[in-house]
């Protein structure tokens, strides 16, 4: 394993690997998609000429001469590929999604066009899909009792925005706690994690500013960047040479036509990227940010609570100071078992956001029982509730991560991402294996999340495992045994243990972006 030490910036080895697709597998994947396309055209032909019954939604006879509302071709993938394996998604669960979950069994008699419930509940499926990193998705325990008490005291909803009547003392308590947890001066909490990004980036940057965003940033960051009206430039995923080149070009050339200096340069990165399992190279990003005098917005949706010796996130994982990150954003959805998001930073920044953020002005504030859940779980992680449960959970997650990744690599699967990230993508590549993997794992009582094209690049379909502190070693061993069997059955063990050394990966100069007209 190549160990990267960048002139003392990294205090611990940074092991990230993205093994290249084997050429044979890539060619077979294209053949697979080609065959599916051919059959798609055939079935569409049969449906059009009424040889086969069309089960898709169609317009009424009276409306046939109107201009169609939707284009047929845009639905091609949905009709012919997604429908065939649709039973791997949107599975209805009927218990709290902790380490084990109950699922309602459903069958389809017309190849996934309609589902019927048999009435049976499949019990105790090992849940490898929930973002339950610290295991706080429980229905009993201190968090639940505290939240129930607050529910009876404050009610279920606030029914107002933060700036009108929705600012409860619970919110103030939460924000002080979050600020203490992160080690920043002040913090603000919002009702929805997605809305935290999409509503606050427009408040921070505007026209005449530059946003440098990572290739694989989440939809909320992309939406926020677009809503702000700033110029967006995309750098290659986690590639510091690409980022530095963009920064240099931006400062040397200024704004596109007028050559004026940019008002602000904001770098958008995430702590852990949830589809790749990679961790941002934060020491290098901070060094670049300081050198070129730009601002850093760090989205710790998946890394808060999941990384770092005491769960304080990616900043603690690298041993850096939280003052270097200008805007620390995160969500309470993943590790804290609640809902909502927060932004932490300097007091002036947060005071500004309290006035100008769209979420603060227009969106309802967090609901009180949810706030109590966050407060209790955060105190538990920090150890302030008097027990060592929090610390034990963080350590258990780190052990689970290391163990699971090591065992999967030993078995011969291709796993993407950093050694320490609790998100483990296992590569499947071929479209048929996406459906097969999901179904085989469900037969063996393990629930996984699978993703394919167009959500991922065309040859990189994957199954994504999210580890949790609530998974015991026995559960992981059972899961690993089943994954091993399914891997042998579906021939998923592609790894040739030939990792692309990170320093040798050539930086491709070519980026083609969608130009705005």
């Amino acid at each position: 394993n190549p160990i990267v030490h960048n002139g003392g910036l990294y205090k611990r080895p940074f092991n990230e690997a993205f093994e290249e697709t084997p050429m044979l597998v890539a060619v077979l994947t294209y053949v697979g998609y080609g065959v599916l396309t051919l059959f798609g055209y055939l079935r569409d032909f049969m449906r059009q000429w009424k040889i086969e019954k069309c089960q898709n939604a169609t317009e009424r006879e009276e409306q046939k001469d109107f201009v169609p509302l939707y284009q047929d071709f845009e639905n091609f993938y949905n009709r012919n590929l997604y429908m065939r394996i649709r039973d791997s998604w949107n599975r209805p669960i009927c218990s709290v999604p902790g380490a084990k979950v109950d699922m309602m069994e459903r069958v389809s008699h017309d190849y996934n066009w309609t589902f019927t419930y048999t009435g049976r509940v499949i019990k105790d499926i090992i849940n490898m899909g929930s973002y339950n990193y610290l295991g706080f998705a429980q229905k009993a325990g201190t968090c639940q009792e505290a939240a129930a008490k607050v529910l009876s005291q404050y009610g279920a909803g606030v029914c107002s925005t933060r700036q009108e009547m929705g600012n409860l003392d619970k919110h103030e308590e939460l924000e002080k706690l979050v600020a203490r947890f992160l080690g920043v001066e002040s913090a603000m909490a919002y009702g929805m994690g997605f809305a935290t990004n999409s509503m606050n980036i427009p408040a921070l940057v505007g026209k005449g500013c530059l946003i440098l965003s990572d290739e694989l940033n989440h939809a909320s960051l992309v939406l926020g960047a677009r809503l702000s009206g700033a110029t967006i430039r995309i750098f290659k995923h986690n590639n510091m040479q690409s980022l530095e080149k963009l920064l240099k070009d931006a400062i040397v050339h200024g704004q596109p036509r007028t050559r004026r200096p940019w008002k602000k340069i904001l770098i958008l990165v995430e702590g852990i990227y949830s589809m790749e399992g990679s961790i941002v190279r934060l020491p290098e990003v901070i060094a670049l940010k300081k050198k070129y005098k730009s601002y850093l917005y760090l989205d710790e949706a998946h890394s808060i609570g999941a990384l770092g010796p005491s769960g304080r996130g990616v900043v603690e994982y690298f041993g850096l100071s939280p003052e270097d990150v200008d805007v620390m954003m995160g969500t309470f959805t993943k590790s804290f078992g609640a809902a909502g998001g927060y932004i932490g930073g300097k007091k002036e920044l947060i005071d500004y956001l309290r006035t100008y953020s769209h979420s603060a002005v227009y969106a309802t504030s967090l609901s009180p029982p949810v706030v109590e859940q966050i407060i209790t779980s955060m105190k538990c992680i920090m150890g302030e509730d008097g027990t060592t449960v929090g610390k034990a959970r963080v350590q258990q997650l780190a052990e689970n991560t290391r163990y699971f990744r090591r065992r999967l690599k030993e078995m011969g699967f291709i796993i993407y991402g950093n050694e320490d990230s609790p998100v483990v993508p296992l590569m499947l590549y071929m479209p048929a294996k996406i459906g097969a993997f999901g179904r085989e794992m469900l037969k063996r009582n393990i629930g996984v999340v699978v993703v394919g094209f167009p959500a991922t690049p065309i040859i990189e379909s994957r199954a994504r495992f999210c580890l949790s502190a609530a998974h015991t070693k026995e559960m992981l061993d059972t899961a690993l045994k089943e994954i091993n069997e399914v891997g042998d059955l579906l021939q998923l063990k592609y790894s040739r243990h030939r990792l692309v050394p990170l320093l040798d990966r050539p930086f491709d100069e070519t980026t083609y972006e969608e130009t705005e007209d």
Binding site: A26, V31, F73, I234, S274, A455, P457
Partner: protein, 153 residues
């Protein structure tokens, strides 16, 4: 928005031709087509080569220059709905490496076909017409051009 999607790519169709292994898959599929045609007993070699050339160009014209839009919904509000796949490659940037590859491969096939048909006049006319039909739409000047309004919407 790109909800549930792992990247901020607005139209994944633009990157398909740059993916790893697709050029090899393309060459292999042309090879397989040729072998299938060769195994039909009553076609002579020149006829097989002309058929390979014509069928390859026909399929290329259909897939790259006739079918418009994307087979999945994209978050760009339909900007690419009226563009063929060729026009969508790399968001319309001209003379990228995939475009060069896809322009050169019909020419290579044409040269091989001309050799194997021994430069017979009838085969020449058919092959040249077929080559022109697939080379002209690839010129940068023809980006977004719809002759006589055919295939406009």
């Amino acid at each position: 928005m790109n909800v549930g999607v792992a990247h901020s790519e607005v139209n994944p169709n633009t990157r398909v031709m740059n993916s790893r292994g697709i050029w090899l898959a393309y060459v292999i599929s042309v090879g397989v087509l040729h072998i299938v045609l060769l195994s039909i007993p009553f076609f002579s070699i020149p006829v097989v080569w002309t058929l390979t050339n014509v069928i390859h160009n026909l399929l290329m014209y259909l897939l790259l220059h006739t079918v418009k839009g994307t087979p999945f919904e994209t978050p760009d509000q339909g900007k690419d709905r009226l563009l063929t796949h060729w026009e969508q490659i790399d968001y319309g940037t001209q003379c990228t490496s995939s475009r060069k590859f896809l322009s050169i491969s019909p020419v290579v096939l044409y040269l091989l076909t001309s050799f194997y048909t021994k430069y017979d006049p009838v085969h020449f006319v058919i092959n040249t017409a077929s080559l022109l039909s697939v080379l002209l739409p690839k010129l940068p000047q023809f980006h977004g051009v719809r002759v006589f309004g055919i295939n406009k919407y």
